[in-house]
Structures are given as C-alpha cells and as structure tokens.
C-alpha cells in the first residue's frame, strides 16, 4: 500500500518544494521507491530544485493525453536510485488537470512506488483541490511568521473538510536566535496554535539557497548541513521512527560569533 502524501501550506514561498525534494530524496535513501509529483502546473519548480530541469521531456499532461507512457515521463534520478519525478507542464495553468485525472495518475503510480509525494501549489483554489484529491495524508509546511501560520490554519481546516485525517506539521526557516530574543514564535508556540503533530523543524540557513543554486538537495551531501540533517530526521519520523528533535539553539550562530565576524571581517567565515 503506497503512502500518498501532499505537501501543502497555503502561503507561497514557505518551503513546500524544498521539503518535497529533500524529503523525497531522504525517503529514497532509506530504501523506498519514491515518486514526486509536481502539481504546480504553469509554475513548476520541483524539477529545478532537484537539478533535473534538463531532463524534462514529457509531463503529466502528455501521460494523460496518451501522447506518452507514464514510464517515459517519469525522470529517474541518477544520483539516488528509487527516486523519480513526474514534472508539471510549464505552458499551462492549474486548471489543466482535474482531480479525477490526478487520482488516475496516482493510482497508476501506486503500483510501483512506496511513497508518492505531491508538491502542492500555493493558494486554496482549484490547483490546491486537485493536488489534495488523491492524498491520504498531508504535511503542512509553515514558517514561524504570522501570515504563514494563519494560512496554514486555513489549509488545515480545508484538509480536514476533505477527509484527510493524517496531517502533520513541518516548521521551516526557524531562527533559534530570534526565538531566544523573543522576536520569533517558537516551535512550541506554532505547534500550540495549529494543534497538529509535529514531524520536523528546519532551521533557516544560507546553504538552502546554495543547494537550490546547484540543483542538489541538501540530503545528498556527504557532510550534512543542519537543515539537511533536519530533513533526514523528518523523513525518518515519517517512516515511523522515533527521532528526537535537534536542539537547534546549540548549533545556531550567536551574537558573539556575529561580533567576531564583524571585527575580523573577511578573515573568518
């Protein structure tokens, strides 16, 4: 029985696609067959984050129209066996695939894949509803900021209304120093407000941008960064393992280190 999980948020730019790419890869590293579906038709980005943009030939649309077989559209990641991507069409919009068609694609794929992660577009209109249609579970991604949390709350309500019972929370772009300075909501604050189980906490880190620049998901690195490690742990928790949450305060760059950098300038990194 494959697990079909939609990665959603409501608010745009909080890290759904980054999470889909990294969680997908981390699950494949655990030995599973994982398929990623980019449901953001017209504004596709999952291919970019995975560094697979040059290998996109067919998309979900061509599979549905019969122009190609599913196997031809699925891009198998050469760096990580077990991971495949079904890209979205770039020249259409979110209404190009309806929920029945999404369901059809997922049913077709569930025969070969243990996990199917659907990268949901931002918003709550038809694109969102089409993306959640085939899902049994959801991961709601939010940042510890007022607008993202408000939108996440709305999305949770919509998911529950659509009978998706298993909903987990992924808090992204946490800045432990700001939390310590009482200028950012803590993990506990967000968890209390949204009241769904927490599956992962990813710290804010410049290396996320570097990973996007290179098209290399964080979890691929030999020496894992903090967010890379956090994503790996999140995948383990998804898999049912009991992994303790990292104490991000321990690893974060405090004011003394910032001062050191200020005075020593370019001599230290």
């Amino acid at each position: 029985m494959s697990r079909i999980i939609v990665i959603t948020s409501g608010k745009g730019g909080v890290g759904k696609t980054t999470a889909t790419a990294n969680l997908g890869m981390a699950l494949a590293q655990l030995g599973y067959q994982v398929a990623l579906i980019d449901a953001d038709i017209g504004l596709r980005n999952l291919d970019l984050l995975l560094g697979l943009e040059n290998r996109v030939i067919y998309t979900a649309l061509e599979v549905l129209s019969g122009e190609c077989r599913l196997e031809q559209a699925l891009i198998k990641d050469k760096r990580q066996p077990g991971l495949a991507l079904l890209p979205a069409a770039q020249n259409r919009n979110k209404d190009s695939i309806d929920s029945d068609q999404m369901q059809y694609l997922v049913t077709l794929m569930s025969k070969q894949y243990d996990y199917i992660l659907v990268d949901c577009p931002a918003g709550i209109e038809s694109g969102f509803h089409n993306a959640i249609a085939p899902a049994d579970e959801a991961i709601v991604v939010t940042t510890p900021e007022i607008a993202a949390v408000r939108d996440a709350d709305r999305v949770i309500g919509l998911l529950e209304a659509n009978n998706i019972k298993r909903i987990s929370l992924l808090i992204n772009r946490l800045r432990p120093q700001m939390v310590k300075a009482n200028d950012m909501m803590s993990v506990a604050d967000v968890k209390e407000i949204l009241a769904i189980p927490l599956v992962g906490v990813i710290p804010e880190d410049e290396c996320v941008i570097v990973s996007t620049n290179r098209g290399e998901p964080l979890v691929l690195e030999n020496k894992l960064s903090l967010p890379g490690l956090a994503f790996e742990h999140t995948a383990c928790r998804l898999d049912g393992q009991d992994v303790e949450f990292l104490d991000l305060q321990l690893y974060s760059k405090g004011p003394l280190k910032r001062l050191r950098r200020f005075f020593l300038g370019s001599f230290t990194i």
Binding site: R150, N182, D183, M185
Partner: protein, 91 residues
C-alpha cells in the same frame, strides 16, 4: 556580562513574540468561526421563517450577524416585532 551588553547592542525591538501570538490567536478565532456567506444566509432565512410563525417582523430593520471576540463567537439577531400574532392566526 560583556556578552549581554553586546547582545543588547545588537538586538533591538525585543518582545514582539508576545505581540504576534496575541494577534494570531485573535485573528484565528475569527477566521475559524466565520461561517461562509451562503451558509449564514440560509441560516438567516430559516430562522426568519420560524420566528415569523409566531410574530410579524419588521423586515426592513432586521439585524443578523456573527460577532467574535477573543473569548467566543455569538450569533446576534435583532428582529423588531411589529405585532404578535394571535393564536388564531398561527398555522
């Protein structure tokens, strides 16, 4: 001690965390309780039908709304009565 001194130099605007929690809880209480417009309208019509069985209402000055504060949500209906129907008039 020096660390705290520099920390105070470098950090500013302390305590916005309490602001954001307070604002979020308030706005979510409102978001979560808002019935969508069509449901509210259906509810309004049904309530008016029931009330009109017993009294005649002044339909021009009716008030019907949902009000939320941080503690609870209430349905407020202000239905001015023109006259009370005689038991004979009731169906």
């Amino acid at each position: 001690m020096i660390t705290e001194f520099f920390e105070r130099l470098l950090t500013s605007n302390r305590g916005s965390r309490d602001d954001v929690k307070r604002r979020l809880k308030l706005v979510l209480a409102h978001d979560r309780s808002t019935l969508n417009a069509s449901t509210l309208e259906k509810m309004r019509e049904e309530i008016l039908v029931v009330v009109s069985k017993y009294v005649e209402l002044d339909t021009d000055s009716l008030e019907f709304s949902i009000k939320t504060d941080s503690k609870m949500t209430a349905l407020i209906a202000n239905l001015p009565i023109r006259r009370i129907l005689h038991p004979k008039d009731l169906n």
